[in-house]
Each structure stands twice: as C-alpha cells, then as structure tokens.
Symmetry: C2
DNA sequence: TCGTGATATGTTATATTATCACAATTCGTG
DNA sequence: CACGAATTGTGATAATATAACATATCACGA
C-alpha cells in the first residue's frame, strides 16, 4: 500500500515500511525511547498491534546505517542528530531521562587516543555520562 | 547458623548472611557477573535455591556502600577493586566481556570538570568505554 | 529478659527488555 | 512472469529487574 521511499533521511537513503515508520517516529520524538515505547507510540499511527521482534529488527537496521544509536546504559534508542559527525558523547539525566548529545571535546578525544594507544579499539558509539541535569538539581533544592 | 561478621571488607565493615556471600563471591570472581550468574554460582555454595529478589537486594546494599559497581551498559555487576579511590573508568570488551578498571587519567578528569561546569552533576560511577580488547583483535586477524 | 521497632530474609507474582524459530509476503531484477 | 533475496508476520521464550507482602532476626532500651 505504501511506497517505499523517504525524503527525510540524510544522503538519499531509502527506507521502506516499518523501518520508515520507526525512524520517522524517532526523529519526531527526539528523545530516548525503549523498544516498547516505540511500539506503544506506533500502534495508534499504524492501527494494528506491532510485535517487539519487528521493532527490534527495524532498530537493528537503523543502527547499522548509523541513523540511530543505542544508549547501552539505559537500554533505549535515539535518532542520531544529523549534525553530529562523530560518535561524541552524551549526558543522560538519571531523573528526567533527558539526553544531550555533543561532539567529543578535546579532553575526551585525547582520552580516546590514549585508550587506543593501549591497543584497545574503541567502538563508534557515544560515550555515555550519567548524572543529574541542571534543571533537575534546581527542582531538588527549591 | 552463621555469624554475621566478615574480615575481608575494607574499613571494618560488617556484612551478614546473603550480603556476605554475594560480596565474597564477587571478590573471588573478579569479573563482571549478571545477577543471574551470581544466583547460579551461589546455589552450590549455599545449597538451596536463591531467588533473584534476594540477589538484587544484596546488590543494592553493596552498591550503596560502594563495594560493587553496576556496569550499566552491560547490566552486570563487579566488585570494585580496593585500590581505586575514585570511580574512574573502565574498558569493556564486546567480544570477551573483559572489564579493565583504571583511575581517570588527566584528560578524562578534565572532561568531567568541563561537564560539571555546564551545571550537569556527574554521578560516581566509572565511565564505561566499549570496544575490542587487544587480545580479541589478534584473534580476528590471525 | 522481654518487648518493640528496625532490619533482613523468604516467596510469589509480575514487569521490562530482547531473541529464537519459522512461515508468509513482498521486492528486485532478469 | 519467475526466481531468489529481503522484508514482514507471529508465537514462543529467554534474560533482566521490580512489586508486594509475609516472616524471621537483630538491636537495644525498659
Ligand atoms: Zn534531568
Ligand atoms: Zn526528586
Ligand atoms: Zn576481548
Ligand atoms: Zn570472533
């Protein structure tokens, strides 16, 4: 029923069916979602029950294409901001779950080189820092 | 039946019953274990079925006392090396699962200060880097 | 020593995250 | 169209984690 193209993805990528639906949802939401949150958000859009396997398969594909990343420390998935050219880092608030991406700044790049020099080959995922964001700190002291 | 003291923990800490058993196991193993691996390893020692809840409660306690850390990116737990004075960092091999702790070296400390300066309050867990260890790289090229 | 509240343990059930296995359908291309 | 490859559909199950409530043990003052 649906054609299998998309105009949103970078570099003229074609996504079809479920993959397109999952990726577009993730781009709209711009926050970390669990696979099951994706299922819940997708159901009303698609109008039928969506099986976990289906979502995990779409996520696997999108991960391979580096369109999304898995935040391994919280078991959630998020669309990669288009302006990030390297995996960089992200800050994850343990209270409100907000996720803030940025490029690796100098010290982190230095640290990564240092690790690489020991023979350990880092993967291409963002380094995940955990803590409490400024806004949640305010909430707790007022 | 068992008395409730231990002589292994740093700073004269008393652990009783299950907590002691879990902590001693983790110190012996010196590798990252899932809660369910702990259950399986503990059963023969204790001689009865150990419920997940029990192990998770012990882990919660040990986490609070900072005797163990949770590697949030792999959902495993590991006894904190006694010589680590700050949370530091760890390298996790995605093939063999080896985990190597070390103190934060300068660039990482600098990075942490930089993050703190933005108002984000980092927690006290090690920063987890993922990749492939030197030994596993050799295995793949030979 | 006994009573009492706090702490720790025992147990069942359930929630959350993720993968396996196999069938059916659709797609791309000669 | 025909064919194999890629994608989707579906049920079952594994792996990780927490909720809820009952019971037992400990600590310590009366
Ligand atoms: Zn927050
Ligand atoms: Zn709060
Ligand atoms: Zn390895
Ligand atoms: Zn291999």
């Amino acid at each position: 029923m649906q054609t299998a193209t998309t105009e949103q993805a970078p570099t003229e990528l074609k996504l079809s069916g479920n993959r397109k639906a999952v990726y577009m949802l993730m781009q709209q939401q711009q926050r970390a979602l669990s696979a099951y949150e994706i299922i819940d958000l997708l159901r009303p859009q698609i109008g039928r029950i969506i099986h976990p396997m289906l979502v995990y398969r779409c996520l696997d594909f999108l991960l391979e294409k580096q369109l999304v990343v898995k935040l391994v420390s919280v078991n959630k998935f998020v669309a990669l901001p288009n302006d990030l050219t390297e995996p960089g880092q992200c800050l994850i608030c343990e209270i409100c779950q907000a996720v803030t991406f940025s490029a690796s700044s100098n010290p982190l790049q230095q640290q990564k080189r240092k690790i690489a020099a020991t023979g350990f080959k880092l993967n291409q995922q963002p380094v995940e820092f955990h803590g409490i964001c400024a806004s949640c700190q305010k909430d707790h002291t007022e």
